[in-house]
């Protein structure tokens, strides 16, 4: 089948993104996720179903089915910016591996157009799904949220065994891999927890960078808009000093570390 006819379900396209991968990028957000992280700032990404969300008092349909061919013109509209800035396309979600065939064909079309490609994914999927996208991928931005599987499960609804195993295999494949950790107070914001992740990341073949992403509350209103409860209501974003301290802890691993993407 022609890759341009492959259909997938997305819920947003964000142009001029400057925080998810190098340069100026366009992000395509896939709908549907395997996990339910308590702090998730895109709750509308979690269900694969097309939903209605109230935004600014108005009902808005979240999610639409599109083909690769339909997406490409909007992605290509900013190719001058990618070229000048060393940017490109990032697929995010949701979990893009939930629609691995669509991700593969979209990445393939982007490569055919000469664009730099990246995905944001937690790699919690059978490795066969990951194998599909690797040939068309320049950069894997992978989330590792916690080294303790029980705590991982408590906050994200899934254990971390498969994630850690996949991390090793992705590293071996030779695709550039950057490890990212959302720093969430009460979940993983101690020196020991961050240190453990950074240490693991440093053992992965070829991994040079570890990014710490401070928790934020910008998605909170969306829970109300979806008629859902936000369980982390009383948590404050980590203060700057705390992030800088955790950064120094992470740096002990010898990796290049930074706050923010």
């Amino acid at each position: 089948m022609n890759i341009y006819e492959t259909k997938g379900r997305i819920f947003n396209i964000q142009r001029f993104s400057i925080h998810d991968g190098p340069g100026i990028r366009t992000i395509v957000f896939f709908k549907g996720c395997y996990m339910r992280c308590a702090w998730c700032c895109n709750p509308e990404s979690q269900s694969y179903e097309i939903e209605t969300m109230i935004e600014d008092g108005k009902a808005k349909t979240v999610g639409k089915d599109v083909t690769v061919g339909e997406l490409m013109p909007e992605i290509l509209a900013d190719q001058t910016y990618y070229r000048r800035s060393g940017g490109g396309v990032t697929l995010s979600g949701g979990e893009i591996l939930g629609q691995a065939d669509f991700a593969r064909d979209l990445l393939c079309a982007c490569k055919e157009a000469g664009l730099h490609t990246a995905v944001e994914s937690t790699a919690n999927a059978p490795f066969e799904a990951i194998e599909k996208i690797l040939p068309y991928l320049d950069l894997y931005l992978m989330d590792i949220k916690h080294m303790d599987s029980a705590k991982h499960k408590e906050f994200t609804t899934a254990g971390n065994e498969r994630i850690l195993e996949n991390a090793k295999r992705i590293a071996k494949s030779g695709v550039e891999l950057i490890i990212r950790t959302p720093v969430v107070p009460g979940f993983n914001d101690t020196a020991a927890e961050i240190k453990a992740i950074s240490k693991f990341a440093s053992t992965l073949k070829g991994v040079k960078e570890h990014h710490l992403l401070p928790y934020h509350r910008l998605g909170q209103d969306k829970y109300d808009g979806l008629g859902r409860k936000y369980s982390l209501k009383c948590i404050e974003p980590p203060p700057k000093e705390k992030m800088e301290y955790l950064l120094s802890v992470a740096e002990e691993s010898g990796l290049k570390c930074q706050i923010g993407g």
């Binding site: 142009r15 001029f16 993104s17 400057i18 340069g23 509209a77 001058t80 800035s85």
Partner: protein, 843 residues
């Protein structure tokens, strides 16, 4: 800050100079007005050219001079800092009428003392009927005058009331030859003049006036030398004494003679810049490529070890402060349009040289550094960008942008050079362009650009399509037929173009009438001697002495007309959801919403006056009732009101909007823009030049929006129109790349008098080195797509809201208005709101 070139510490002197400059409100001073009147009374028997030079000499001989504390570069037009002189030979009635309100008005207030008022009241009667403005009025065709004054279809008010300015003179030549050298050139031309030449009288008068004007400038500088020497004698502080003695030495040598050091070049530059603004009231006297013509002096001193980088930087910083010492009072209406005490002294760095090589040098960086040290509106600093621009210069510029003063403005060599070449400028000259005033490109030292010739509100001709050419009950435009009977969208668009073409014709008449008046009553021999080929032709700039001559009136309202016409197309013709009669009725009724703000007050008082004329007693209760009806739209039947509001909702929610990178929409915006630019370029001016359009409103989109009824894009009556060539406020929702892609689809090269795109950014977008690099990439990408100009406001909404509430805390908060930067707290409330509401590009 890592990797940013030329970070040089700011000297303590600069902060002191800035604080002294902003210690009090600007003041109007009478001396120039009195002196020019005295001189004119004595020279009635002379030809105008010699009367001009005699007046200039009389002023320079007698106007008070002052050296301010801590200054290294001297020369001030007024005793008080940031004061202004007046120019009654251009016009005066408006100022006389505002004597009692000018200190308290909303935009750009000036203090005026009782002594100044009485001195000017004595001078003014002489000028009755003799001003440039009086002649311009009588030169104009009655229809053009009415369209301008009574109906506000366009406003050439700037040049109708004031000098032209808008010039970049040949600074390089004055630094190199001194005025003595220029006098010698004029003398040689005089000596060569054939007595049988039919132009003999005119040329002879002009060249004589040049020599007299230059001589006056030399004597003026000597007055400063004398003052500095006297002050040095009295000075007890040894350091300052030495500084004053150096100032005295400088002023004895320049600008009379060639500059021999960087310091002398700086002082010479300043006398040129200052005195151009004493000769005439024209603003936008633009220093242009300062980093180019000053560089040889800097290089020579650096190589000889005569100066350090820190010393050179301090001198540049001093010039930057001085550029804010010059001021101008405008009538209240114009002050709204040019809000923020704008002087528009545009100074540009970087870009290509005449050979097409990159011209960036140390001074390019140091000029940007100076704008960081002196975070004030002047100079309007700009940067030329091309494929060969060093990344480090653009990173430095981005770091300046990040400070939030709206500076610098970015210009694209790759489109401007071919664009002005298409107007007849040679390749070498085009590569050497600079920017005048807000955004107008020209080859400096050879051009009389008459940029900024008028504001043309493109929404008004569209309004007249609905009224069949009638405004305020008078048939002022062509009858283009009953809009409700039109069968196709094309008919509507054609009617718009017909209305617009008619008013462009009247605009041309008005501009040419004013142009002729300036040549007749206010030729400027001093300014002219520094623009080629005035001396060679024996003609003032105003008489067509320049090599390149243009007239550039600027249109605006593209976004409103694009969105509005497309809404008509979709709702009336394609979907047939609204009839044209309903559409028209909805607009007439302001879409069922009342009128708010100042417009509501104005309409209320108009209605009250009419009722009073009919003999009805006007009580507070009556006024309140009228006001309520105006603001709440109570007079409209509820069913109709609901329908009109529904039409507005349909326009807003279902019709496509310019600025979102939608090909068909953007291409239609291009057609709208071309309907103006390609009509304007058909005409010629009296200086044997052509008209060329600009597309930018300065800040007139706010006051002129205040005179424009509801528009078919759903914009309510009397609210601001879209700014520059950008989308209407808040309607671009896809981020800065989509906005820039849309705007880049306009045929900007045809608007060779300049285009303007304002973008607003949150400071977080420029955080760190990576933020700066991505920002530079964004600019380069817009320019890859043939964008001509872009500028940025980087300041948070919260900061602006706080500044509105607590202006005293933000006395020096500078924001980009439109083509220039201004102090936020001096802007009128409505303009402040407009800036706050301009889309903030989020991430």
């Amino acid at each position: 800050m890592e990797n940013i070139k030329f970070v040089i510490e700011k000297s303590a002197r600069i902060e002191k100079l800035i604080n002294a400059l902003y210690a009090k409100m600007p003041e109007i001073e009478a001396e120039r007005g009195v002196l020019v009147t005295e001189s004119y009374k004595q020279t009635e028997a002379l030809p105008i050219m010699l009367r001009r030079s005699a007046a200039f000499a009389h002023i320079l001989e007698n106007i008070p001079i002052v050296i301010r504390e801590n200054e290294l570069i001297v020369g001030s037009a007024t005793k008080a800092p940031r004061g202004c002189q007046v120019f009654p030979e251009y016009s005066y009635e408006w100022l006389e009428a505002e004597f009692d309100t000018v200190a308290t008005r909303a935009a750009d207030p000036f203090y005026i003392s009782e002594n100044t008022k009485s001195a000017l009241k004595q001078a003014y009667p002489y000028w009755k009927g003799k001003t440039c403005s009086d002649l311009a009025k009588s030169n104009m065709a009655p229809a053009a005058y009415e369209a301008f004054v009574t109906h506000g279809m366009f406003t050439p008010g700037n040049y109708f009331y004031n000098g032209i300015g808008h010039v970049n003179v040949n600074y390089e030549k004055v630094l190199r030859l001194g005025y003595r050298g220029i006098m010698a050139e004029a003398q040689a031309a005089l000596d060569k003049l054939d007595v049988s030449c039919p132009e003999y009288v005119r040329r002879h008068n002009f060249l004589t006036a040049v020599i007299e004007s230059c001589e006056a400038v030399v004597l003026y500088a000597r007055r400063y030398a004398k003052l500095a020497r006297e002050m040095a004698k009295k000075e007890t502080d040894e350091t300052r004494k030495a500084e004053l003695e150096q100032i005295a030495t400088n002023c004895l040598h320049v600008p009379e003679h060639p500059a021999t050091s960087f310091y002398e070049a700086c002082q010479s530059f300043w006398f040129i810049q200052l005195l151009l603004q004493v000769e005439s009231s024209g603003h936008s006297i633009s220093p242009g490529r300062f980093d180019q013509y000053m560089y040889p002096y800097y290089k020579k001193d650096m190589e000889a070890g005569k100066i350090t980088k820190e010393q050179a930087q301090e001198l540049i910083d001093c010039i930057w402060v001085k550029l804010n010492d010059i001021n101008k009072v405008r009538d209240a209406g114009s002050a709204d349009g040019f809000a923020g005490y704008g002087m528009f002294q545009n100074l540009i760095v970087g870009g290509q040289d005449v050979h097409g090589m990159d011209a960036t040098n140390d001074l390019s960086y140091m000029c940007l550094e100076a704008s960081m040290h002196v975070p004030l509106p002047q100079p309007s600093i700009s940067i030329r960008v091309w494929n060969g621009s060093p990344e480090s210069l653009l990173i430095k510029a981005a770091a300046l942008t990040r400070l939030g003063t709206g500076l610098p403005a970015y210009y694209n060599d790759e489109i401007i050079i071919p664009s002005i070449m298409a107007r007849g400028v040679t390749l070498e000259d085009a590569r050497d362009y600079c920017i005048i005033g807000c955004v107008e490109p020209q080859k400096g030292g050879k051009t009389d650009g008459w940029h900024d010739a008028a504001f043309f509100n493109m929404c008004r001709p569209l309004e007249l399509v609905f009224s069949r050419g009638v405004d305020k009950g008078v048939q002022i435009g062509p009858d283009t037929g009953d809009v409700t009977q039109m069968q196709t969208f094309e008919e509507v668009f054609e009617a718009y173009k017909t209305q617009q073409a008619y008013f462009i014709k009247l605009l041309v008449n008005a501009n040419n009438a004013i142009d002729t008046a300036h040549a007749t009553r206010c030729p400027l021999p001093f300014q002219s001697c520094m623009v080629e080929d005035c001396i060679g032709r024996g003609k003032a700039l105003q008489e067509g002495g320049a090599i390149y001559n243009f007239t550039g009136p600027q249109g605006f309202g593209i976004a409103n007309n694009t969105d509005g016409l497309l809404a008509i197309k979709q709702l009336v013709f394609d979907e047939k959801k609204v009839t044209m009669s309903e559409f028209k009725a909805a607009m007439d009724a302001n879409f069922g919403y009342g009128v708010q703000g100042a417009a509501a007050e104005r309409i209320t008082s108009e209605i009250a006056c009419k009722l009073a004329e009919q003999g009805i007693e006007i009580t507070d209760a009556v006024i309140r009732a009228i006001y309520e009806e105006v603001t709440m739209a109570n007079g409209i039947d509820e069913t109709k009101k609901a329908r009109y509001r529904e039409i507005k909702r349909l326009i807003e929610e279902t019709c496509p909007k310019y600025g979102n990178d939608i090909y068909e929409v953007d291409m239609f915006a291009r057609a709208v823009a071309n309907s103006y630019t390609k009509e304007v370029e058909k005409y010629k001016n009296p200086r044997k030049g052509v008209f060329q359009a600009g597309l930018y409103p300065v800040s007139a989109n706010v006051p002129l929006g205040g005179q424009t009824g509801a528009t078919p894009d759903g914009r309510l009556a009397f609210t601001p129109l879209a700014d520059g060539i950008g989308p209407a406020s808040g309607r671009d929702v896809k981020g800065p790349t989509a906005t820039a892609n849309s705007v880049a689809k306009l045929e900007q090269g045809v608007a060779s008098n300049g285009t303007l795109l304002n973008q607003k950014f949150h400071p977080s977008a420029l955080a760190g080195m990576s933020g700066l690099s991505k920002f530079v990439a964004l600019i380069r990408s817009y320019f890859d797509q043939k964008g001509m100009h872009v500028q940025f406001n980087v300041v948070t909404r919260e900061t602006l809201l706080d500044a509105q509430q607590n202006p005293e805390k933000y006395k020096t908060l500078v924001v980009r208005v439109a083509g220039y930067s201004a102090l936020f707290t001096t802007l009128s409330r409505s303009l402040q709101d407009d800036i706050i509401n301009r889309t903030e590009q989020g991430f």
